[in-house]
Symmetry: D2
Subunit: 386 residues, 4 copies
C-alpha cells in the first residue's frame, strides 16, 4: 500500500489547470512511490475556487492560504499564483515544513528569489522545486542527455529564442501582463526565462554575463473595461505599457561560448516557438516547441556525404519519460510536462533527494533576467550575472 | 447538479489505458451535460484487472462481462477487447439497454458488423458509436469542416496512407496481431481502416468500389516463447504470418473521384504516419498524424504568385475542440482524441441524438476492407463495396 | 588539344532550351575528353529556328533534318521534337552513323521504341541514349549509389509519385499535350514515365508486372483559338480531352517487392513533385524534386533512440557530379541535370562505352506504360511487362 | 542588330567562375538591349589565367589589369579579386570611363569604400554596381516586393542570420580568409555583409546604429604548407587566426524597429543558411537560402483559424526574373543570381539609369560592418552607423 502525499494548490488560473492535470494524470501512468491526493485548492474568491475544485477534481476548496499551509494533513504546497506573491507563500510553506513546488518565475525580483532560496536551504527535510516544465518535454530532456553524453562534443554556440505574436495587434488590450508592478517584466520574464533556463539546462552550463536590450514596441494600449483578462472588453481609453515587448540579448556561458537569445511577443505567425539550437564540435541539436515530439540531431562524425539534420520522433520507449505512455509514434502534448514534473518531484520527496530545477536554479535565472535588464539600461553594456 | 453516467469498460489492454484517460480527463476540461463515473473495468484475469482498476482509477474491477452489462447502475458499455469479441459483447449490451462505445474495427467480419449495426438500429433509446478517434484530432475535424464549407471546391483526388515500420525487422516475433484468426487482418484492418474512415469522413463521401492487393512480405516469424505480447521472448521456432503486411488499394468515391490508399508496417522510418491529402478545384488539404497539431491548406483562390501550402497550427480557440484546452500554440497529443470522443458521446447521450461514427459507419468501413480483400483475391479486379 | 564533337539539335521548343543550356554549360565546368560544338539547330519554320539559333548560341540553323543528319561534320544528333517523330529521326541518325541523344519518352508506342532499340543495337560504333535527366539530379544519383552500396538493405517497398496541378483549372485550354494522337498519353507518359524510370534506376530493378487505372477528370476543354501553346487564347468551343489526367498503378519489381505509383496533373498545389521513397530492411531514402538539392536518409542501424530521417544537402564535393560546381551549400537547379547528361554522354562517346539510360532502358519504360494502359483497359487486371 | 558590350573581368577565382556563368547565360534567356561579349579575363599568373579563359570562354587573357582597363574596346570592368584590391581597380576603371561591377564587399575599409563611391559619383556616364547577388534570388526579390506593396504592414522586427559550419573543425587550416590583412574581417565581412544588405534591401530601410560582439572561437590553426587554398596540405606549425569566427549584433532600422543578426562559420550542420524573417503588423516573411526557391508568407489578414506560414514555390512566370526560365516548379540554383545581375546591369547601362545596389549601398554596408567592429571593441556599446 502506497503512502499518500496530500497536495494543496494555491492559485487557480491557467497554470492551476495545467498543474491539476499533472497531479491527476501522473499516478495513472507512472509507478509513483507515494500517491498524490488532490486535497485542497485555494483562491481568493470563494465561489470561483469552489467551482475550480469541482471542475478539476480537488477534494476541497479554501480561501485562506495561510491557514491551509499550516494544516498538518498537507504535505506539498503547489504555488500557481502570480509571481509577486510567490515569495511570501513559498517561504511560509517551507517554514511550515511543507514541500514546495513553485511556478516560474521563482519571483519578480532577485531579492525575493534570494530569500526563497535561503528559506529552502534552511528548511530541513523538505524539497523545493521551481516549475520550468519545458525541461521535461522528452525531446528537451533527451537533448540534455545527448549533450551530457558528449554526442555533440564541445559546445561552440547556442541560439535560443521564444517567439510569440499575440501582441502584434496594436489594439490588443492592456492586461496585467503588460504592467510592470504586476508582471515584473514582459517578454523577458515570461518567456525569455524559459529560453534562458532551457539553454542552461541542455548545455549544463550557466550564463556568466550578458549584453542586451529590452524594447516596448507599442507603448500605449486600450484599457480593459468590463470583464477580466484577455476576454474583457477594451475601453476607448489607453494606458501605458510598462513592460518589454521584445528582449534581445547575448550571453556568455561558463565555457566561454556565446549564446544569443530572443524573447518576443511580436514575431507575427510564431505562436509558441521556444527554439534552441546547440552547435558543437561533433554535432548539433535543434528543438522547437511547436514540434515538441521532435528533436533534430546532426552527427558530424558520420561520413561527410551522409551528414544531415535528422528528425528524431522522440516517442520511443527508451526516450526520457516515454516508457509508460503510448506506443512509438503516438504524440505527447504540452501538458505531459506537468505529469513528468509531478513524477520527478514525488520521487525526489520519497527518496529525500533535491529535485531540479531547484530554487537556486530559479534564482540564477532571475539573476540572468536582472542582468539583462541592467544591461539594457546601460546601453547594452556587458553585465555580470551575480 | 449534473446527473451521473456510469461507465463499464470491457477490456484493459493498451486501448483501455487510452479510453480510461478519455473518461478521466474529458470532464475536467469540457462542460458535460452528464458526469461520467468510471465505475467498473472488466477483464478475464482477476488480479490483472484489479491492478488495472487501481492504476487507471476505476472504482471496481470484475471478470464476468455478462454480469456487468446487466447491472442496472451501468449506463454505458465501453468495449476495448480484441475485434473478434466485439459483436457478442456489443449486441448483448445493446439488448440490455446500454449505450455502447466500441473500439474499431467494429468487428472482424462484415457479417458480425452487420449484426451489430442491426442490433444498434433495433435498440431504442440507446446510442452506439465506434471509436475512430482520429476523426477527433482537431486538425482532422477542421479539415472536414473546410471541405464541408466548400473551401477546396470539388474534390479531384484523395491520397490516404497509414505508414508504420514495426515489422521491418524480419525477426520481430509472431504476435496475435499477425494471426488471422485473432486479428482478422493485418495492416489493412488495423491501420488501413483508419485511412479509409478518415478519407470518407473528411470528404463526406463513401467509397463505392475498390481495386487492391494485400501482401505479406515476411511470411514466417519467430514464435513467442515465454511472456506475452511484444515484450515476450522470441523462441527459435517459427510460425506462419497469416495476415497482410501491406495493403495497397484504389477506390472510387461517390462523386466519381479516385482515392488511393496504402497501409503498411514496412515503411522504414515512418512510425505513425496517417496522412491524407485531399485535392480540390479550389484548394487542397494535407494532414500527417506525426504532426497532429498542424494542417496544411492550399488556397487556389489567392493571387497566383502568393499560393502555397500553409502550415496552420490547429491550436486556436476557434478550432474544433480547442476552446477548453490551452492557449494558442500549446500542443495536444494522441490521447486528446479520446477526451473529444467522450465529450461527443456524452453530449449525444444527453441530447438523444446519434453520435458519429455510428455502427453503420463502422460497418461501411468493414465492407470497404472486405471488398479490398476480395479484390486482392481476384487479381485486383474492381469490386463493389456492398 | 581536345577534339571537337559537333552537335545537331533537332527541335527547338522548351526542351531545346534545356538541352542547349546543357551543351553550353557542361564544358565550362567539367573536363570533357571531347569539346562539344553547338553547330546547328533544326526546325520547320526558318525564321523561328534562326531566332532560336541566335538566342541559344548555335552556329547555324536549318529546316531539313534529313539533310543535317547526313552532314559529315555532324557527330551527334540531339532529338528534342515531340514523341511521335522520335523514331523516324533517331533511326535515320543511327543509320547515318551518328550518336543519338533522344528526349524521353523514347517514342509514343512500344513498336516504335522497339525499332529504335533495334536500330541502336545494329548501329556499330555509335552511342544512343534517352534523356531521363532526373537520374542525373545529384540527390537521385546519390540515392541510387546508396541503394547499390547496400545502405538500406533489402528493398521492401517503393512509393513513387509525380504530382502536378496545371490542369486543376477545368478551363485550362486543350493543348496538344491533351490529344492522344500528338502526345501518345497524358500524365502517364509525360510524368509517370519519369516516376517509373527513377524507381527502376534507384532500386536497380525492373518492374515485371503492373495493375493500374488511367482516368480523365475533365473530359472537355476549351479549344485553343489564336496563338500557340499554353499562352494561346482559349476559344468558346470545346473539344475532347483524349489522354489521361491521372494514372495510378502498382507494380512488382524483380525482387518481388511492390512499388506504387501516381502520376497526376490534378494534385492542387503540387507543382513538380517527383517524389520517391524506397524502404529497405536497413533504412530508407526519400527524395522530392521540389527540393532537389536534398536527400532524406533513414539509417535503421543507428541506436534506436537516435534514428530519424536526416536531410542531407547534396552539395558536397564528394556527392555525384558536384565536384566542379560551387562550394558546399550552394544550390543547383533543374537545368544542371542537362549538363550532367552531356558530361556522361560525351565521356561515353570518348570511351566507346554504352551510356545509360540506353534505348533499351527507354523501351522498357515504354513497355511499363503500355502495360499500365492495358491493365487499365482490363479493369486493373495484373498485366506482365513484356 | 544589338550593340555589343565588351567585358573585362579582373580576377579568376571562385567568383570568376560565377560571374562568367552570369555573362555566358544571361543573354541566352533574357532579351538584353546590349549583347555582352566575354572579351578578356585578367590574372597575375599568365598560364593560370590563360587556362581560365579557355575553360570559361573568354576570348583573351591578360596579366596587366591597368592596361586592360585603358583599352578602348572594353566597356565594362567586372572586378572579382580579393577585397583589398577593389578600390584601386574600381577607381581606375571609373576614371577610364568604364562601367564597373565590383564583387562584395565593396572594400575592406570604409575609407576605401568612400573613395570608390566618390569616384563613382564623379564619373559621368558610367554605371557602378556592387555584387550583392542574393538580392536577385527571385524569392528575396519577391520578399522585397511584398514588403514594398505593404503586404506585411509596419515592420515590427527583423531576424537575419547567415550560418555556415566550415570552421567547426578546429584543425581546418589557416587560409587567407582567416587573416585580417587579406580578408579585412571574418564571418562579419564575408557573410554578415550579405545578411545586413539583404535585411536593408527587403525592408527598404537602413540600419542607423548597432551593438554587437565579434568572437574568434579557434584562435590558432595549422599553417598551410604545400599547395594553395583550402586544398593545400596543412603543416604542423600553427598561426594566429586574426579575424572573427562569429559576429552577433543588433541594429536599429530607420523606422526604429530592431533587427538582430548572426554571422558564423561554426553553426554545425548549417551549410549556407542565409535566413531572414521580417515580422510586420499584417504578416511576416521568411526566407532561407538553403531552400532558395521557396518563400514563406504569413498573412495575418486571413481568418484566424486559417492563418499559417505558407510555402510559396517562387517559380511562377509572374515572379521576379522567372518569366524567361523554365515552367512552374522547375528550380533555379545559386548561379542564377549572377545572370539576373548581368541582366539588370546591362539594362541599366542601356537605359542610363543607376543600378542597385550602388557603390553608395555597398559603402553603407561597409559602415554597418565598421560600426559593429567598433561596438565590439567598446563592450557592445551602441554605435551609430555613419
Amino acid at each position: 500500500m502506497t503512502d499518500e502525499l496530500r497536495i494543496a494548490m494555491i492559485g487557480h488560473g491557467f497554470m492551476g489547470a495545467a498543474h491539476s492535470q499533472g497531479w491527476r494524470v501522473a499516478p495513472r501512468f507512472f509507478d509513483l512511490p507515494l500517491e498524490p491526493v488532490m486535497q485542497v485548492v485555494v483562491g481568493r474568491d470563494a465561489d470561483g475556487v469552489r467551482a475550480s475544485a469541482a471542475k478539476w477534481g480537488w477534494a476541497e476548496s479554501a480561501t485562506d492560504w495561510r491557514e491551509v499551509i499550516e494544516r498538518p494533513d498537507i504535505d506539498v504546497v503547489d504555488i500557481v499564483t502570480p509571481g509577486d506573491t510567490h515569495a511570501e507563500i513559498a517561504i511560509a510553506a517551507l517554514r511550515a515544513g511543507k514541500h514546495v513546488l513553485c511556478e516560474k518565475p521563482l519571483a519578480n525580483t532577485v531579492a525575493e528569489a534570494q530569500e526563497m532560496t535561503d528559506a529552502a536551504a534552511a528548511a530541513s527535510g523538505v524539497r523545493a522545486m521551481v516549475g520550468f516544465t519545458y525541461r521535461r518535454v522528452p525531446a528537451a530532456t533527451f537533448a540534455r542527455d545527448l549533450v551530457a553524453a558528449g554526442r555533440i562534443g564541445d559546445i561552440r554556440q547556442v541560439r535560443a529564442e521564444y517567439l510569440q505574436d499575440w501582441l502584434s495587434d496594436a489594439d490588443a488590450p492592456l492586461t496585467w501582463r503588460l504592467q510592470k508592478d504586476r508582471a515584473g517584466s514582459g517578454a523577458l520574464g515570461d518567456i525569455g526565462a524559459h529560453a534562458a533556463d532551457l539553454a542552461e539546462y541542455i548545455t549544463g552550463q550557466r550564463l556568466t554575463s550578458v549584453s542586451g536590450i529590452l524594447e516596448t514596441l507599442v507603448t500605449e494600449r486600450p484599457l480593459l473595461g468590463e470583464g477580466v483578462g484577455l476576454s474583457g472588453t477594451a475601453s476607448s481609453e489607453r494606458g501605458a505599457v510598462t513592460v518589454d515587448d521584445v528582449a534581445l540579448f547575448t550571453g556568455r556561458l561558463e565555457s566561454g561560448a556565446l549564446a544569443s537569445f530572443e524573447a518576443t511577443r511580436f514575431r507575427t505567425g510564431r505562436k509558441n516557438a521556444l527554439r534552441i539550437e546547440v552547435s558543437g564540435s561533433l554535432g548539433a541539436l535543434s528543438f522547437d516547441l511547436e514540434r515538441l515530439n521532435e528533436l533534430e540531431l546532426y552527427d558530424a562524425t558520420q561520413p561527410g556525404t551522409e551528414q544531415g539534420f535528422r528528425r528524431i520522433l522522440v516517442t520511443e520507449h527508451d526516450h526520457p519519460y516515454l516508457s509508460p505512455w503510448w506506443p512509438t509514434g503516438h504524440m505527447l502534448g504540452y501538458e505531459h510536462g506537468f505529469s513528468h514534473q509531478v513524477r520527478d518531484l514525488v520521487v525526489a520527496i520519497a527518496d529525500g533527494t533535491q529535485p531540479r530545477p531547484s530554487f537556486a536554479d530559479g534564482l540564477h535565472v532571475q539573476r540572468v533576467l536582472d542582468a539583462v535588464q541592467r544591461s539594457s539600461g546601460a546601453g547594452s553594456a556587458w553585465t555580470p550575472v551575480d
